[in-house]
């Protein structure tokens, strides 16, 4: 099994800030995601795209962090969207009934086209 420790990569494509997550997002790593997203929102980013394509799974703690970050972004007049929600990760979103709670795009390219 590949290393499942969470890694966060950040990049920009035009006005969109891309946060690519890789590995497992659970109670031990959800705080790192929250910190990164909060910092981006408070620093004035207006469009944030969280790419979940390389995430193995995410637990309830991670879902809460994403909900809190989305709420913070909305209150700060920013947009936060998700992309590449596939396979087991998508199943978890479906099980939690949370597909409608987020703005979700199929691919990164599609998301960038919408957010730009």
């Amino acid at each position: 099994m590949r290393s499942s420790a969470l890694s966060i990569e950040q990049s920009h494509s035009g006005a969109v800030c891309i946060v690519a997550l890789r590995g497992r997002i659970d109670s031990t790593s959800a705080g790192d995601v929250m910190t990164r997203l909060s910092n981006l929102i408070t620093s004035g980013e207006r469009a944030i795209l969280v790419d979940l394509g390389a995430v193995l799974y995410l637990t309830s703690a991670a879902f809460r962090v994403l909900l809190v970050a989305t709420d913070e972004a909305e209150r700060g007049s920013a947009r936060l969207a998700l992309c590449n929600v596939m396979g087991h990760v998508r199943e978890l979103f479906e099980m939690g009934g949370l597909l409608d709670a987020f703005t979700i795009h199929g691919s990164r390219e599609e998301a960038l086209a919408r957010l730009s």
Binding site: M1, R24, Y57, T59, F63, E91, M95, G96
Partner: protein, 564 residues
């Protein structure tokens, strides 16, 4: 059961009449290549041209009968899948040996014995399912693809010993193969469905133009009748117990051969295919055994399932069982019309070779997908790698193994049987030391999610468990550990596996948990930690196939069950 995207006609669907006829013709064209084996036997028996014609007619009739027996769906016989019959090298070696020792009568008698043995094995097949776990079935299917490709190249390029290839064959095979590839990738509808038949038609025409096709050589000196009833003049049976051993090997090799082919036929009909359906395998084997008995009774070489036909089904997306019945009728007609039979029986070798090479690609890839869906540790890697190597060895050193004793040739002379035998035996041996029950203890303060992942990943690889199920189970345990928090006294995780079930038990000091079915709203999750706990319980409830919690004498236990 999920329909694969490229499937045009599933096993229970019947294509329109024209499509059905052409699809059956396509299979007939590929199956006819296997007539080479009874013809070799007839020539070794010194049959005259007229006798040879009768022998070939009876063989064609049996191809039709056996195809129906293998494919029909009934309580007693038939796999229920499009898995046509063909003569293979499995029967050839021992039959030639029996011919030397007791003439055709002994060949037919011993063929009946092998068939009866397969009929006897069929009801016991389910109990022997540990012999063919899915990763080994994947290996078998890959080897099926490999062996079709090798035989296809041999035919296509006329590779005999060290004589090199015949350039004109390379041209014909190349044009045939290119036609099939182009039609399969860049066209739709009829052109794609019948890419194999159209490619063979193009190859046939090219062969005629360049002078490779010679129909006159197959016509007896007295000419051909338009309609000719086959004479069953070879009905003669003799048994000899001393000849039984090689035919037992033939029966077992044919059984493994059939298991690989029927498993592939099942898989190409179901995107969610996980493991072989043994009810279908049992019926297929019974049908194969009955067909072999009938072959012996009417005077023909023994028969097996024919791998190339599975490749045709995979490549064209036509897997309808109705095609098998049409094939049966066509071969019955071919047995009556010698001129038509000769056209089919003389399809040039490079054309047949190209068709086999083309269809091999689909079978090979299907097997690889089955293997890679499983987690593999070093044991499984060795079993699969060595068996694949052994299968390749049987093909590459075919000439060397041809000098082995004839009774061993069903195993050594056939890549599929060699690879499958190695896979099954090595798998049985390397199972030693694998426990179906394993546990890990995580002490307070050291309850780490990484340790859980490592434990389940290692066990999953030992068991060759499905990767997706282990991933779900890992999520389940990690989510549970989050819910439990820092359990005083630590936790014990126990995992029990068999091919159909994965059961995880997490024991801890504390009260039993409840897992609410109610899904919290996004607002609840956002606003309170309790909402997050509700979500955790709900995800656990939904992600496992069953979950329960109970009190123990000391502490409590959560049981997570996953169907495998």
């Amino acid at each position: 059961m999920a329909r694969p995207p490229g499937l045009l006609y599933a096993v229970d669907e019947t294509p329109p009449p024209i499509t059905l006829i052409i699809a059956a013709l396509q299979q007939v064209a590929v199956m006819s290549n296997s007539l080479i084996y009874p013809i070799i036997l007839a020539r070794e028996a010194g049959l005259s041209a007229n006798d040879l014609l009768d022998f070939a007619s009876v063989a064609m009739l049996m191809l039709g009968v056996a195809t129906i027996l293998l494919c029909m769906r009934s309580r007693y016989a038939g796999s229920g899948y499009l898995c046509p019959a063909g003569f293979t090298q499995i029967y050839l070696g021992p039959s030639l040996l029996a011919l030397q020792r007791g003439g055709l009568a002994l060949v037919f008698g011993m063929t009946i014995s092998a068939g009866l043995l397969q009929v006897a094995i069929a009801p016991l097949l389910r109990r022997m399912r540990m012999l063919l776990p899915p990763e080994i079935a994947g290996l078998v299917i890959s080897v099926v693809g490999l062996s079709i490709a090798v035989v296809g190249a041999r035919y296509g390029l006329s590779i005999i010993g060290d004589q090199g290839i015949r350039p004109i064959y390379l041209v014909i095979a190349g044009i045939t193969l290119a036609t099939m590839i182009v039609l399969n990738i860049w066209t739709k509808g009829f052109a794609r469905m019948f890419c194999v038949l159209i490619g063979m038609g193009v190859g046939y025409a090219v062969s005629a133009v360049v002078g490779v096709l010679d129909l006159s050589a197959a016509v007896p000196t007295g000419g051909l009748d338009f309609v000719r009833l086959p004479h069953f003049r070879f009905i003669q049976i003799r048994f000899d117990l001393t000849e039984l051993a090689p035919f037992i090997i033939v029966a077992l090799a044919g059984t493994l051969h059939l298991m690989g082919n029927v498993s592939t036929a099942q898989r190409i009909n179901d995107d969610d295919w996980i493991r072989p359906d043994f009810r279908s395998l049992t019926g297929g084997l019974a049908g194969n055994g009955i067909a072999a008995v009938l072959c012996g009774l009417v005077g023909s070489l023994g028969i097996n399932s024919y791998t190339s036909c599975i490749g045709v089904s995979t490549a064209t997306g036509i897997t309808s069982r109705s095609v098998a019945y049409a094939v049966g009728i066509m071969f019955a007609l071919l047995a009556l019309v010698p001129s038509a039979a000769i056209v089919v029986a003389t399809i040039p070798a490079p054309v047949v070779g190209a068709a086999m090479f083309f269809t091999a690609a689909f079978v090979f890839t299907s097997g690889l997908q089955m293997i890679t869906a499983r987690m593999l540790d070093s044991r499984k890697t060795i079993v699969i790698g060595l068996s694949f190597g052994a299968a390749a060895m049987a093909d590459v050193y075919h000439g060397v193994f041809a000098t082995a004793p004839l009774f061993l040739q069903p195993v050594l002379g056939d890549a599929l049987v060699m690879g499958t035998t190695c896979g099954v035996l090595l798998n049985l041996v390397t199972r030693i030391g694998i426990h179906q029950l394993a546990s890990i203890r995580l002490d307070p303060g050291h309850i780490s999610h990484e340790a859980v992942e490592k434990f389940l990943a290692e066990q999953g690889a030992h068991w060759a468990a499905r990767r997706d199920i282990i991933n779900r189970a890992t999520f389940g345990v990690v989510q549970l550990l989050e819910l439990l928090g820092d359990a005083p006294g630590g936790i014990e995780l126990e995992a029990r596996f068999d091919e159909f079930n994965l059961d995880l038990r997490v024991r801890y000091i504390g009260a039993p948990l409840t897992f609410p079915e109610r899904r919290p709203s996004a607002r609840e999750i956002l606003e309170s930690v309790e909402g997050e706990r509700l979500l955790a319980g709900h995800l656990l409830h939904r992600s496992a196939d069953r979950i329960s919690s109970r009190a123990l004498s000391e502490g409590a236990e959560v049981h997570l069950h996953y169907d495998h």
